[in-house]
Symmetry: none
């Protein structure tokens, strides 16, 4: 099963936006054992889109097209698809109704050109929208298939998971490719990629002649480094047993060399892990943020059900807010003393069981004689008041993002240590 | 002059790294009035690289190939190029010497496989390295040309500027086509893509037969919709005058039909615009957030120099924090009354000139009988206390992100109205 990804949009050719869709799709396909051998970008031009579709269909079994399905004059993927399929476009009344009702439910009138999105090549299967207006399409072209999805990432990812991936997996099974691939991601925070690679090196050496199991490192910036384990078995239970065995070996190597740096697996975020701990122990949390300016609180609120354990926070950006509201002693605000006072201050102010705080210098300028990247995390929990001093790399947005996840990791480790 | 960009590397297909090279090259080519009409990604496989090269040479005048020039087994761009040119590879002794001396100058011994980098297709012109070991290549294929450069970004950009761009410009001049492209992005919030397209439709119709100016819409999710204007002129001043004229026409059409929805241009964010307004008028801001949980504050703190106008915020997630700290009257917390009280409460608590607040239901569950997506924004500014009631689409992360930018837009409009 050879899959090609085509991203449509002049803005990609002009370099105005990065093509994150092809990267995401390539990663997802690989994780499910499906090869993407070619990617193409093409602009909003009918003849060139046709040429790209025909090139892709000549060399691949399935083509995923992202973009060009919107309601405007430069959205021409539908028409090009109809031409490749050699069928007319037909307006679907049920899609018309969905688009109309979406607009009316928001109390807005619908511009007529939205109805272009209800035009579908005859014979195509529709992937219904759940998040926007343009439906996706599954178009058979001879024995091959073209999937068309909107270029908006969250609409694209939804349709891929809901419709395209199951269809591809079914086609692969029908083609008699029977091995099953399963994978697991170990998520780490606090070690470099090379340190991780060194820790796992003994297992790498053992796997040189084994093509059933692979280990890959994926540096994921502010979310740490992911270690992806993939196992290929004759059936699901075989693949799972290979994977479980591999995970225990790799975990042991990492924990022996680097300690407790694996914070979660697969899609678990740092805040998911913390939420589960707090909920289980019936603890509430409050945060005081300076350098992160609300990033920590907004990550925590992102967890469904956060109201059960999250009280809230104070973004004490101006120094006087730290002094007045959080009772921080007047003095340098990028300091261990200030971090600890912020943590106990916000815990008391918001009547929480745990107070977490962070203060630091995001840059580009230094502050109080401290260089950009200097960060102090404070934690007030039970009878203990503690802090961690960090030096973080990167520019202003990176220092802030690293500060947020580093602070959460301080809390995670304290919760584990006290349990 | 039609240029195609080919990025070689299995890691691109697997989504392990983003293809920043194609984006950068596309942007550079556009800035110099050279059209890049197609991009391709291909893995480290000889047959597939050949296929991609032949496809590119069939439809484009020049091809820029990034990657696959290094010293390891999977670096096979040189061999594929020789095959497309139908010539043998020849080892260049001067390149051998350069690579040897580079290693010895760093006091390192040279692994033998580095000499592969001295193999060059017969007849190719060499682009000398200044930053690494693998030289670039300029390869004539009939009347067309293939440029091959390393995939390492700083080696690629150096060779592009030093050798490829001058060569392309010379070829374009020889072909008698010289033009300069310039562009501007108008950033909007609060109208649908289709409403924007309808507003601009009269101008679209006038431009049907004009290939000097283009208008494109770019739905950018939580950052609104961008309208990109591009003008192609005989020289820089001609292109600029076309663009300035186009911007005034398009702005007038949008503002007439949709009001003040253009909040910024090019890279300006909503918070940049607000920051400039507050700074100019010497006003300070405080925010109270519930549904957004710190997203608004964290966007504001992202602006360099925010400490000049941002006091801080309260993330009043638990209802009692709203009642106790912000003096919100006890009652339903997803309401206009609560939003207004939060805005005046945080303004007073943090001694700011302006108080902005947001409360709502992010979902998935409803709250106080209000469905997910119900959001109230409060604003306390001067003598006025006001609110806006919104119904936002999407799942939990989207409702929160839309709430954040919608709240900032309420503030932006109030600042404009009062100035």
């Amino acid at each position: 099963m050879r899959v090609e990804i085509v991203a449509v949009g002049t803005e990609l050719l002009l370099g105005q936006i990065p093509d994150t869709n092809s990267q995401w799709l390539g990663e997802q396909l690989a994780a499910h054992g499906i090869a993407s051998q070619f990617h193409q970008h093409v602009g909003d031009n009918h003849e060139r889109i046709l040429l790209v579709f025909r090139t892709a269909l000549a060399r691949s079994d399935a083509v995923i097209v992202c973009g060009g399905l919107g309601p405007t004059q430069d959205d021409i993927t539908r028409a090009a698809l109809a031409e490749v399929m050699n069928v007319p476009l037909e307006r679907h009344e049920e899609i018309v109704e969905q688009i109309r009702s979406m607009f009316s439910s928001r109390g807005r009138s619908m511009p007529e050109n939205n109805l272009l999105q209800a035009d579908v090549p005859r014979g195509a299967t529709i992937i219904p929208q759940t998040r926007g207006t343009a439906p996706g399409l599954i178009c058979a072209v001879g024995q091959k298939v073209v999937y068309a999805v909107p270029g908006v990432p969250y609409e694209m990812t939804d349709m891929f998971e809901r419709a395209i991936l199951p269809d591809l997996v079914a086609r692969q099974a029908a083609a008699g490719t029977t091995s099953v691939i399963t994978s697991r991601v170990l998520r780490t925070w606090g070690a470099s990629e090379s340190a991780l690679a060194e820790a796992v090196a003994p297992r790498f050496d053992e796997l040189v002649d084994d093509d059933r199991v692979t280990i890959a490192f994926l540096a994921s910036g502010i979310e740490g480094i992911k270690v992806r384990l993939t196992a290929r078995g004759d059936d699901a239970s075989h693949a799972t047993s290979l994977l479980v065995h591999e995970e225990s070996l790799v975990r042991a190597l990492i924990e022996e060399r680097l300690g407790d740096i694996i914070f979660g697996v697969d899609d678990q975020t740092m805040e998911d892990v913390i939420a589960a701990q707090l909920l289980e122990r019936d603890l509430t949390l409050a945060v005081a943020e300076s350098v992160t300016g609300g990033l920590i609180a907004s990550r925590l609120v992102g967890v469904v059900g956060a109201s059960k354990w999250f009280r809230g926070g104070v973004v004490s950006y101006a120094s006087e807010v730290k002094f007045d509201l959080l009772k921080v002693p007047v003095g340098p605000v990028v300091s261990a003393v200030a971090a600890e006072a912020m943590a106990s201050g916000v815990r008391a102010l918001l009547h929480a069981d745990v107070g977490l705080s962070v203060t630091g210098v995001a840059g580009p300028e230094e502050q109080d004689g401290q260089p950009a990247g200097t960060v102090f995390v404070g934690l007030s929990f039970g009878e203990t008041l503690q802090h961690a001093a960090l030096r973080l790399p990167g520019d202003r947005p990176l220092v802030r993002a690293y500060s947020a996840i580093s602070s959460l990791d301080v809390l995670r480790r304290a919760l584990i240590a006290s349990s």
